[in-house]
Symmetry: C2
Subunit: 267 residues, 2 copies
Amino acid sequence: MTYAVTGVASGIGAELAQVLKAQGHRVLGFDIRDTAANLDRFIPLDLNDPVSIAHAVRIVGEPLDGLCNNAGLPPRLGLEETILQVNYLGTRAFTGAMMRWFRPGASVVNLASRAGQGWRDGVEQVRRLSEIRRRDDIARFIALEGIDATRCYNLSKEAVILWTIAETEAMIARGLRMNSLSPGAIATGIFGDFQKAFGEVVARNIARAGRPGTPREVAETAAFLLSPASGWIKGADIAIDGGMGAFNLSDALDLRRIGLRPEDLQP
Amino acid sequence: MTYAVTGVASGIGAELAQVLKAQGHRVLGFDIRDTAANLDRFIPLDLNDPVSIAHAVRIVGEPLDGLCNNAGLPPRLGLEETILQVNYLGTRAFTGAMMRWFRPGASVVNLASRAGQGWRDGVEQVRRLSEIRRRDDIARFIALEGIDATRCYNLSKEAVILWTIAETEAMIARGLRMNSLSPGAIATGIFGDFQKAFGEVVARNIARAGRPGTPREVAETAAFLLSPASGWIKGADIAIDGGMGAFNLSDALDLRRIGLRPEDLQP
């Protein structure tokens, strides 16, 4: 199989290239930074630049069995426009343009985030964001909505999840499929940004989970979602967060008494 | 690795045994009906009978790397009590008793259903159901709640999803993990029951999805969730429904305009 991976120079993307190569696949890597590790081809891609997106897609020139949209920016002051463009609008535009290269049955995997799990409450703002088709219109959107870098990040990930849902039926009509993957608390180079943006919630969740997750663990699941073995999973968002989503739901819904009691574990 | 699978005589369970054997694992199969296909050992188990559950667990006698709770009954008139017992209460009791055999890091996978996706609205009824610890108390619960076989089925699957969430932190404390898997429209021997119980919704969803799912597709995902490759997925419910959940969300939230437009697909 031949798979394309964005954001392949570091973190989860670099691990995914390694996992896919180890499984015997051909891997095309995209990134703003040059890399050759575990790649059959490297194609420069700046998702913040519509010209770069068009150019990168044009030079692919070979059929693909899947695409993992992994490239993304963390919540960081000053990156507001770039977060919305790279994490969502540029990724969506890149995916649309890449359709021409997909073989029948190809799988698209979008990296969302645990930070996007509030998507049910974000539908209206995502709808307004999704209307944007020109990079230059993002600054005005941010000013109108009055949102900071952390909200831009969460919004970009809510948008990825909702777009994946919204696109499901059209993907099936094209003979393709798409899912999103929502990691929580992964120990990558941008982990410090999340600790700064989300404060002690991060430390508390990691304490309950026992440890942070590893890029390798997310890469293994992304590789599974790219593979034909996951063929009936379509339009789904898969939480990969060491149980953090479940802790929060269990607290919010007060589910403790539903669980097993000590006497249920007796021989 | 050594994995236990319930409901192994047919459908998804039989496929899972085949997938796990093909991957080189040792497989212990449990069912009310005798079978030897793709199994290293067969242990008789009637989840409707607490004595059978205790006996089956006792004779396992070897360490396990995972358990797939696949056994379950479909919505069918006359099976009300048995559905709640086999699909949820008996499965929960069996899992609790099986804890003694799990190796560190073992993974439990519970087969829930697309029919359990209303779990957010079912919390209170699941809470009442979950208090039951005696098989004989189920008839009274059904009479008090005034529920039919289809509601018993949906409730049993909502309960599996909520129990999986509720148990997540305790599972981590035990060095284990548990997830649920929610298939939709799978072509197995009990498919007719679902068509009868859920009517033309089933046909409409399958038309939009293009086809029903196969037991093999669900088995491949269950095998992935049993394996260490999915190690950071804990307390999650994974939809495997060919996009049906996404269609319904997209309709309900009116997400169409979020998707790609024809001009977005142009080179």
